[in-house]
Every structure is written in C-alpha cells, then in structure tokens.
Symmetry: C2
Subunit: 388 residues, 2 copies
Amino acid sequence: MTTAPSPTARTLADPDTPFAVVDVHRTRRNIARLRALADRLGVALRPHVKTAKSLDAALLHDGAPGPVTVSTLAEAEAFADAGYDDITYAVGVEPRKLPRVIALLRRGVTLRILLDSTEQAMFVAAAAREAGVALPALIEIDCDGHRGGLKPDAPGLPGIGRLLHDAGCLDGVLTHAGESYFRHTAEERREAARNERDAAVAAAERLRAAGLPVATVSVGSTPTAHAADDLTGVTELRAGNYVFFDLVMAGLGVCDLTDLALSVVVTVIGHRPEYGWILTDGGWMAMSRDRGTAVQSQDQGYGLVTHLDGTPVPDLVMTDASQEHGTLTARDGAALPELPIGTRLRVLPNHACATAAQHQGYHVIDGGHGTTAPAPAIESYWPRVTGW
Amino acid sequence: MTTAPSPTARTLADPDTPFAVVDVHRTRRNIARLRALADRLGVALRPHVKTAKSLDAALLHDGAPGPVTVSTLAEAEAFADAGYDDITYAVGVEPRKLPRVIALLRRGVTLRILLDSTEQAMFVAAAAREAGVALPALIEIDCDGHRGGLKPDAPGLPGIGRLLHDAGCLDGVLTHAGESYFRHTAEERREAARNERDAAVAAAERLRAAGLPVATVSVGSTPTAHAADDLTGVTELRAGNYVFFDLVMAGLGVCDLTDLALSVVVTVIGHRPEYGWILTDGGWMAMSRDRGTAVQSQDQGYGLVTHLDGTPVPDLVMTDASQEHGTLTARDGAALPELPIGTRLRVLPNHACATAAQHQGYHVIDGGHGTTAPAPAIESYWPRVTGW
C-alpha cells in the first residue's frame, strides 16, 4: 500500500514499479507555452486541474492560487482548502450536489456551476433563493455536438438566462470543443477554435441582446487552445491535458514527443522470444485501458517505450495489457532489443488524464537538470486528489 | 475527497455520485457456487483477490483467512497484516521485489512467487542462499499462448526446477488459461479447462520424472474454473473475477446478468433529445475505459443501465464516456425513457476488475434483504487496497 515515496527513493531506479513519473521541467515548459498563447490572445488562462489533480502541478502556473477549472467537487474542495477561491466546476450540476456547492460559496469561494436546461436553471434559482446565496452559473453551449450544451441559437437560451439572472445567478457562458481531439491538421483545429469562439460569443450576444449581463465567456480544449488565432469576445481559456500532454496530442501534432511530461516506470519480468514479446509489470492497472491513438493514423498501442532516462527505445511499443502485465513488441519487424529481467523502462501513455488517474501520485524528476546516472533523480512527490 | 461513506448515507439515494456498489448477496452466492465446484472437483480454492482488493470480500469465502492469490505486493502486505499466511503472488518476479518478498516470508507468511526463466531461478536461488530463507517458487506454465510461462515440454523446464530445488525453493507449477476469456461456448471452455489441467499436470510430471518434488499444481481462470469437469492431478483452483462477475462473463455465458454484484451509481445531469442522449455524471473515471464486450457478439458499450433497485432499464446502454460524463442511448431505436435530471441509475460494467479499480471502496447493499424503498439500504463500506 505504498502510495508515498520511500525515504530512500533517490532516483527512478529506486521505487518499486510500476509508478507514475512527472518531468517538472516539461510541465513548466508546457504551461509557459500556453500562458504565452493566452497572453498574446488577451484572455485569462483557467487551467483544468482534472488531468494532474495535483496542487503542486497547479501551483506551477503562478506560484500562488489562481483561477482553475475542476471536474469534481472533491477537486473543488481540495483546491479551496489550499486557498483557491475562483473555481469553475465544469460538469452539469444536479440537485444533490448543491449543498456542497453552497458550502463552498459560503466559505468565500466563487464556485461557478454549469447547466444547459430550464430544469436546472429552476432548481438552481430555487436553491439560491432558499439559501440566500447567489450561485454563479454558466450556461453550457454546444459548439460541435460533442456532449452537453445548448446550441447558440437554441430557442430556450434567453429564458434560461432570464431565470438565472432573476435569481442573481447568471455569470456567463461556457463551451468546450471536445471534437477537436479528432481534428488531425492544424488548419482544422484553427477552424475548430474559431467555431468554439463564435459559438460562445454568439450565445453571449444573444443573452446581452435580451438585456442579460454576461460576465464570463469561457472557451477551451487543449487542441483548440493551441490553435486559436483570435479570441475576440472571449474572457478566458480553459485547457487541462497540456500540462502533461500525451501520445494522442503528439499524434495530432499539438505537441512533440519531447513535450510529454507523464510516463510510467515499469520493469521487465519476462521474455517470450517465440512470440516476439517482452513482458513487464506495468499492465492496464498502471496505464489505464485508454487506447486513444487507436483511431489515429499511427496506433501507439498502450504506449511508447523509453529507457529510464527518457531516450526512446526505437520501435518498441506496449501492444497488450492485462491487469499487472504489459506486453512490449517491436514495430514492423524491427529486432527486439536485449532487455534483461529487472531492466527498468518508461512508457509514454495514450491519454495522460486516464493514466494519471490510475495512480495515487507522481514521483517528480527535473529533466532540466540533465540525466543523473544511473537514473534521473527524484526531486519530490506530488499526491493526487482522489474520489468525487 | 470523500472516500468513506457519509454517516448519513443510509441508502443508495444518499452518497454523492458516482460511486461503486457491491451486492453482498450476489457476491456470497457467486462464491458459494465456485466453492461447490471446487469441492466437487476435489481441489482447494485459492481466490485471486485482485478483483475486489477487499479484505471484507475475501472473508466471505471462509469467514477467516485462507489461501489467496494476489497481483501486487501491496495486496500481499495488506492481507498479511490481516492474518493471511498462505499467499501466491501470481506475477513474474524481478530482483528488486525480492526484499519485500523476503520480509513477508520472515513474518511467517508462505508467500509463493512466480517465474518462468533460468535467469529468475538463478537470482531467486541466490537470494534464498544469501538471506538464509527458502523462497517458495512456482514455475509458470504457458497453456495457451496468452502471456508468460514455459510450454510444458520446454527443454529448460527441468533445469529451472533443479536450480530451484537445490536452493530449497521449488514448490510447484502454475498456469492460467487467459485465452478462455475469448471462448464463447461452454464446450470450448470445457476444452480450455482440460487443456489448462493437462498443461499443468504434464509439467508437474516432467519435473517429478526428473526427481524433483512438486507440491503445488495450480490452475485457473474464471471461465475455465466454471467449466472444468476433471481436475485430476491438480491441487488448487484460482479465479478472481467470479466474486463480482461482469458483462464480459455474462456475454460468454459463464454467469447471468442477475449474478453481477458490482455496479456504479450515477446521476442524470442532462438530455440531448436531438441526438438521443441522456448524460450522466459517470464517465470513464467511474467506469474505466474497459470495453471488453466490444469483441463479443453483443457489444454492451460502457455498460448496461438499471434502476437504483437493480431492475434493468430496457434497452438503455452507456455508449460513450468522457472523464466525468457518461452518454446513455437507447438500443436499436427503442424509445428513450423519461429520466429527469437528478435521477439515479446503476451501470453494470464490462470488466469488474477494471471498474472496481477506479474506486477507493464499495458501498455495500444486500440484495437478499429485498429492496427497501426508496432505494436499497447501505449496509457497510468496504475499502480497497491501493497501489503496488
């Protein structure tokens, strides 16, 4: 039940495998890149902390609490406990979650909630009146048919805005271009970013035309955030995955493989030369079942393999997984490298959010320090927020 | 960060969603069924605790510690702490894990380890001599090309047995018919069970013919364990998934849908009638990314939906997932049921091992008590062992 680092864990050669590792140098660089983009576009950056679920990772943005997006009330509460007072809970709200929302508001946290129906606006307005607390609400706008939200021209939009406004709860609009994860060229993603902005701004303008004040116009996804060229009318940009990036993002071309900040350290536990397999102790329990690259032009299996210092093992891919076993095979008939039992490797994941969720925290290295023989030094341990 | 039940959580209507629920009545019945099969076949049952990772679930077997199989040393340590002293660690061993193995042996736990190579036999023998402790080892036998192991007729088998025996470490052989998860008829699974037994017994006989004593002949997987008709020569049966079962096992015909003991309670958070979607707050974070039924004749998406009391919602399937959103759709053009925002539902998972792993523990109901309005009563909370 080791979930924190052993006091003797000094390098990636030390903790028992499998375990998750984050390169803080790459994380910082990824954050700086998006921060510069947001600054250039003149919008605030509201990181989505659902990927890392780590106070330590979030603090790399500003060194102090700033605006964040969360995917669970457990994240909201953990970040509020750490002094964050400007939080957007970006999953549609339901009545039984309101007591925890109201409790956070009463603590002085500006916790924005999300909704897309008259039904929700009515119970939110009723709860606000009953509690005597304004519940700042964002109306979710659907820009690409990905998931929830109202189309910007939905007949019901002004009525929902009015219900919220009359209860002191209307804060603004929010949209997420979830389909941008399947836009495989930079031009398609730029188009998706324009469409995302247009949808949010059009919805905001409709509300304003109905005499309703709109403060927040929030857009974002990691692919569109890195492609946007004009966010006129938008107030803030959300994205989450970019702190770590992953093979899906690299496959899209949003980042390079050298930007991937999350990996899983595994150990070779067997060989099946007759099948061309190297077996490791990192299965889906350590990597997750996510196979996001399966729909891309280059399927990366369960992940790409590197040596412990992060240099790629050419053509070696994790192609299969059971609970605590990973199977590595050589791509396209390449020779299988000699990796004796006990050899430690790292596996770069398809989907950072899903792989990170399999772990209780991260051993942190700093790739900016260069590699220290025989393996990168562990600088710290970042726990994750768990549960809901 | 709520990982334990609220003191006011009295029924499945109470805890914040999503959360995992176990029906202890079904779990007991599933255990009794396999126990009866093992008794009839004249072999010991060594449950694999990797599915539930719960001391409470394991205790349902005998009411007291008995033989178990584990997938991680964290499980071994947690079970040892609870008084279990007969544990098989069924993942190939590597050198850096031996200190924890030896520490458990020195506590008086009979912890069997697994290996399939001369390389491993040599470092295990060396460690045993250095520590002055016998490390009871099982040689992994490959019965169906699924993962690790030596074929029963592998030239190296007797030599590995000799290396282990000379260091006082040879305990026996172990095999796992992992390919039986893809055997879709009872007759194919019976054949797989015979083949599993034949492989293990043949390997044991080869070792014995070389003058090496073999105590343990261990076989098992949930599909073969429920299909075996003769385990002559086998000493013990392993299986894990059967405590909960899941849609993959139901799809194979190993169990009925009414045997599924694990589900996830979710709440409706939105509707997209134009797409035929009901949205919930249970995404892949709550269900896992496992889509095991995708290769079966009936693809069950991310899961089948039931009401809170466990009765099926006809034709309603969870067909898509993002991190904290689930999408429910009606199968084959059936009408979408009216399920207002705030409605609680349960989702039956593809793969119990993977879905359970997304949670810190289980709220436990007892289906044997009948349904208590408005929702089944929560009887207890079972925490899970986490990490490695």
